[in-house]
Symmetry: C2
């Protein structure tokens, strides 16, 4: 029996597709050469861009029936990654633009489900698709630019960490990598409860950018008379190790991380070895937490206000990032950027 | 004899490439999760995104030695197209972000020349690369988001044209299409002078976004006591016919264009037929002029101030866009969007 052929991009053309996507955008935003957004006077504009490519960052599997089930997750993750970059700058979101390169043989339903997942994530954080572009491409490509705003004195940079600062992470690390493992190898993790399995997979498919951290950060700071703080930081999209290393390089400092303090998803215990769990936490990536460096007293207050946050180490003089084992079992290890990199190979 | 193999993207990796591209960006812009830009208080933020794909919008010709000669033009055109979208909204530019999907086998020199052409165009209009993203892709893909600012009462929209408005174009149309023809078929246009040939090719390779029109527009309006004008418009990136049709559809009006008034590059006379020249002017695209609808008196003043500008017709009741021949030789023709479209085939 032949299933009816799904409606393809080449069947509807550019105008037909635009008409279908309009319902995902606020009225009045689409239809001009560009979109208009209001920036609060005195705030700085924050802009960031991400490019995602089929077969590199996600897999459409055009030939397989799973195509329409993952599109919403691709959309959610694309939105989340960009909103996370805004959070990492201390900004609140104004909107995003979406550029799509689409093969003619892609089902229209894929694009609609992609947009549904994308806007579901945006709506959760009170922001919108403000415009975009669609064009033909042999490879499905998603380019998202995100815009936000931030008061000039509340910008979070990578380059301002100082020796003595505490390093605080806003949540556990390794869950996204674990979820990916379960998606790639469903036969794994047999000891996991169904609930744990679902939540690890969800951590990978539907990560939550930590925009909620920003107001918590500044209200904590305001109530703390002693700390007129610089706050340094970035997100852990490329892994916790990468974030600490990037901050240290930009700030000209080193860091010590304590193995026992790294917050890991409890579900990993009993499935994988402690060493494997630490590896996923440090190098897995895509947990989209914030890695912040701030004066110790302020860090402790922030930790109390943010469930799941943990102080995992401190900034030091020098330039090395050392992982130490406070139990004394393992030798101190020097972390390096090479392990966290995506190469052009 | 084997030529030395050029340095490829996969040889330098993400960090190596970023280091090489940093010199094209203002100091301090690169290195955080996002870039910061200041918007003048009270102005609206304008955002737009374009995606360009190798083999669709340009051709890298990885296997051919011409690869490094065209990269600068791809960069210029990518910048110009986005700046033109800002001009079409009445905005002045704040900056752009550049997302690149790069095959590992692409020469590093291609990306550097692309950036050189891109920033040459941006510099000419006083703006900058404010950030971006690079990633691996099987197909070279360029995604550019551009940001600008505009006073709320000076936004140029597509939807505000009214019957009686004059239709003004800021320059001649068809040169970009003619330049493309000469690049694709160098044996053509033997009657052209070398200067004309060069300038047509240059019109295609190095189009100039009309950001200069915006201040001219508003200073004209200020000096004209009678016209508290709405100004309607868009750019002619997809062709003059497409621009008029899009404006008419968005505004719920029709238009009449006069064949004799369409400004054509003089070089086309004596090379191609008048009918062919009109076709290239209407449907060729990529001339990146502005198509503006404004009260007749204001249109005449703007025309006097902008060398090359021409009033080509007027907005009418109804919904049809008719091309008329004031010499009476040709029958009136109804223009349609179908001829100007890029399909997903």
């Amino acid at each position: 029996m032949n299933l009816p052929r799904p409606l393809l991009i080449r069947d509807v053309g550019e105008q037909g597709l635009l008409a279908r996507l309009q319902r995902f955008c606020p009225p009045g935003m689409i239809g001009d050469d560009a979109a208009l957004l209001a920036v609060v006077p005195g705030l700085l504009l924050v802009v960031t861009e991400d490019v995602l490519v089929d077969g590199v960052h996600f897999s459409v599997g055009l030939a397989s029936p799973i195509v329409t089930t993952v599109a919403a997750d691709v959309g959610w993750r694309a939105a989340a990654a960009n909103l996370s970059d805004l959070a990492a700058m201390g900004a609140s979101p104004l909107g995003i633009t979406v550029g799509l390169g689409l093969p003619g043989e892609l089902p229209v339903a894929w694009v609609e489900e992609f947009y549904a997942g994308l806007t579901e994530c945006l709506n959760q954080y009170g922001t919108v698709v403000a415009g975009g572009d669609i064009c033909r491409s042999p490879v499905l490509t998603v380019a998202i630019a995100a815009f936000g705003q931030v008061p000039p004195n509340r910008v979070i940079r990578r380059s301002t960490a100082q020796p003595g600062d505490a390093i605080l992470v806003t949540g556990s690390h390794g869950a996204s990598r674990a979820g990916l493992e379960l998606l790639l190898h469903p036969e794994q993790g047999t000891a996991l409860t169904p609930g744990d399995r679902t939540s690890l997979i969800r951590a990978h498919q539907r990560p939550n950018p930590r925009l909620d951290v920003i107001p918590a950060l500044w209200t904590t700071q305001l109530s703390d008379q002693s700390a007129k703080a610089r706050i340094t930081g970035m997100d852990s999209s490329d892994g916790l190790a990468d974030a600490v290393l990037q901050i240290c390089r930009a700030s000209g400092v080193g860091a010590t991380l304590e193995r026992q303090r790294l917050p890991l998803p409890p579900a990993l215990t009993g499935w994988i070895s402690p060493a494997q769990a630490i590896d996923w936490a440090l190098y897995g990536g895509e947990d989209f937490e914030l890695v912040l460096c701030l004066p110790s007293e302020l860090a402790q207050q922030v930790q109390r206000r943010l469930p799941g946050a943990a102080i995992v180490g401190s900034i030091t003089h020098g330039s090395e990032v050392i992982l130490i084992d406070s139990a004394g079992t393992d030798e101190p290890t020097r972390l390096s950027l090479e392990q966290g990199f995506q190469h052009f190979t």
